[in-house]
Symmetry: C2
């Protein structure tokens, strides 16, 4: 299996922090493609784009959301992502408003140079999303690709340690997180947002890389916080946090072979094998 | 049920950061009692002491560990903690080397003014602990006390999100963490230790308070990192992190009624009820 590696063991990845405009499908698609092109020119083999980067986030009502959503992979945004992935030989994980029959999903697609790989549907809906979207029904899928085993989570999914754990137990080496993080109450001045704390903790506890691509801007009064980042499988940032208010592309060269059961803390401890699944049985009845 | 509250809804708690000396049972017991007495004088109703605060941490061999371990609650250290808890009307959660027949456990006791409440045995053993101790066999117990529903975790247990989650699902409002944190590889200069990141993330994700009492000092070449802290149920520190190298007692007044299912993020989201237990079923087969 050929991995797209810039040098032995190294995979260059990019998180594309952008500002989608609500309802401007053509403009959002063009902005995203330009940033994908720029990241490809920088040698990135995998790029992550924000949640709902085709549509914008703050829908006035369900009808607006439905009008902006697309089929996966037959819709025009997916088709353009497929085309650029094939032309540039890159992988793309991007958030997209999905329409499937009568249902709308806050989804993400995984696309490679050879074509469509799969999709994820956000499991944990945030705030007014519950008015527009159907909760994800595809579980926590992990995609085995030539560049590594990839998982996907979207924004508020990252508040649930189970999501990362389920991906890790399936051997995921890198979780791609299209997100639209918003300010949260309780945030302390001078500290990075809690989203970053959660990301670092999940990466460390699961010995996995995590790449979060956030959006910026204020949309219909809703602010977003930027701060896209890439953390390595020890939990520490290797790129970002990016700006809180400007578009930016951040890059990191990572070695996915360091992740998972290969990450040994000392002669006696390995985070995944040290789990007490005999005890966690309580999960079975909750 | 009477709660020990300094004013409406407020419970004053203390984390006692101290430096046990390996093998000095009498000296460790005296130091701990003096600090408990000082915290009681400051009005603390609950105090947390470090992991293995009766014995020290770096045992030369299993025989040394066995010689320092005590029975719970009949051993002399427990008996002195019971006496001071009754005399001062306080709660104590403290780490202790436990001997039970042929087995040794890295344990913690929960003691109140009315007497012995229960114990916890560390589930996830770190490094050479595996040479001395039997892994915990009491699951993740939660103790219903007049001051609130308390859980316990010890040091490396905090690396496993399942521990906090299992306690939260049983209604725990405050997790007391006797710990002996050591430096970890990968730590970035200028950042607080990963232990703090994990603690904040767990408190936020589970809407629970967490109080960590660490030790300081260097014992037989092993350094400990101090940085005891108390985080509230939004995940942010309300006391500490304390010094990295000096004994200290940190205090916070907290309101446990804010924890758990009462912590609403917005009109649509609550962290415990938003869980997708229908999806997490994969845990059942791991």
């Amino acid at each position: 299996m050929t991995r797209h590696l810039s040098r032995a063991g190294q995979l260059k990845i990019a998180c594309i922090q952008m500002e989608p405009r609500i309802g401007d499908i053509e403009g959002n698609r063009a902005s995203g493609l330009a940033l994908i092109e720029a990241a490809a020119q920088q040698g990135a083999a995998l790029m992550v784009l924000p949640e709902l980067c085709n549509s914008g986030y703050v829908f006035a009502d369900r009808e607006e959301a439905a009008g902006l959503a697309e089929q996966i992979p037959d819709g025009p945004t997916c088709q353009q992502w497929l085309a650029i992935a094939a032309r540039r030989g890159v992988y793309i994980v991007a958030g997209i408003a999905e329409r499937d029959g009568a249902c709308l999903y806050n989804a993400a697609v995984v696309i490679g140079p050879q074509g469509y790989i799969g999709k994820y549907r956000k499991l944990h809906l945030w705030n007014h999303e519950k008015l527009f979207f159907t909760p994800g029904d595809l579980g926590v899928p992990v995609f085995d690709t030539p560049i590594g085993r990839l998982g996907v989570a979207v924004c508020y999914d990252g508040w649930f340690p189970e999501v990362y754990r389920l991906a890790a137990l399936q051997g995921a080496e890198l979780i791609c997180v299209p997100t639209n993080w918003v300010p949260m109450s309780g945030q302390l001045d001078g500290h990075e947002p809690m989203a970053i704390t959660l990301t670092m903790a999940a990466a460390h506890s699961n010995a996995m890389f995590i790449a979060c691509a956030d959006r910026v801007g204020i949309e219909r009064g809703q602010a977003f916080i930027g701060k896209s980042l890439i953390v390595d499988c020890s939990g520490w940032p290797v790129a970002g946090p990016a700006s809180e208010d400007s578009e930016a592309v951040i890059y990191a060269e990572i070695d996915l072979s360091e992740a998972g059961r290969k990450r040994q803390l000392n002669d006696y401890n390995q985070l995944l094998t040290d789990r007490r699944s005999d005890v966690y049985g309580v999960f079975r009845s909750d």
